[in-house]
Symmetry: C2
Subunit: 161 residues, 2 copies
């Protein structure tokens, strides 16, 4: 059986995970968010094998999250708008990892807002009135790009699930 092509699935999470779904990828993005641009700095800061790093950087470049630009006789990897736009999801993954896989009060790093000194945390989904929204509050409906299968599953009168 051939591996599923996630980038061809009609699902935003599948297409996102076709790009992000390899564990080093988000750590490399995290380095880019922290200002790292050079191959050697990524390698040193992450303790990642050079061949794996080269493959992951090529993957992020091919998918438009990083741009490889000449700089001082070598190359720098710069975040594109698409890469920069992954910051909210990075933050949400970080907060969840911190809450669930570290003891209370044992954060290895904290992120602070340069302007205010306040901690930077992923905001939780809320209504306009401030009440939190959880998965049980959500109804899934076919969108304008829905195919037949999605319309059958989530359209009017569908048996949900």
């Amino acid at each position: 059986m051939r591996p599923t092509d996630f980038s061809a699935m009609r699902c935003p999470v599948a297409r996102a995970m076709a790009v992000l779904g390899e564990r080093w990828t988000l750590l490399i993005l995290g380095e880019a968010f922290a200002g790292t641009t050079r191959f050697d700095a990524f390698r040193r800061n992450l303790g990642i094998a050079p061949n794996i790093l080269a493959a992951r950087l090529a993957h992020l470049t091919a998918h438009g999250l990083l741009l490889r630009v000449p700089e001082g006789g070598r190359h720098a990897y710069r975040l594109t708008p698409r890469g920069r736009d992954a910051f909210p999801l990075y933050l949400a993954i970080r907060d969840w990892g911190l809450s669930h896989f570290f003891p209370e009060g044992a954060a290895p790093t904290v992120l602070l807002d340069r302007a205010t000194g306040e901690p930077v945390l992923a905001p939780r989904p809320r209504r306009a009135d401030g009440t939190p929204i959880g998965p049980e509050d959500v109804v899934i409906r076919p969108g304008p790009g829905a195919g037949e299968a999605i319309r059958r599953r989530f359209g009017p009168g569908a048996a949900h699930g």
Copy 2:
């Protein structure tokens, strides 16, 4: 060289990705958020091979995101608080995938708030005054659980990056 053990890394994103960093995992969580609990329903809705689904469900159960409970002579997979708490990151990944890998106006599905009918979107990180926070606004500092390497890199006087 042995593969890196992400769950042992002193990094919340690494530990999160030790659990989430396989592409099917988030799709399975998405099904759980949509109310799916049965093996056969996961299999059918995702079009996933049974052996892969069984392995992923066992992984999510072992890491405490799902609970396997007897129900009607078979089993149901129920979200735990840890699994439920992944909803904000799921939403953030979904929104990013939709913005960057689908044409404008071609969303296959929309998520609506059951209470208000409003679209449910991942909120962007903002300051108390409402201004957006991007990666360049963030300073990384050692947290209470920082080790020597993190203190050297992010502590006072460290050369950033």
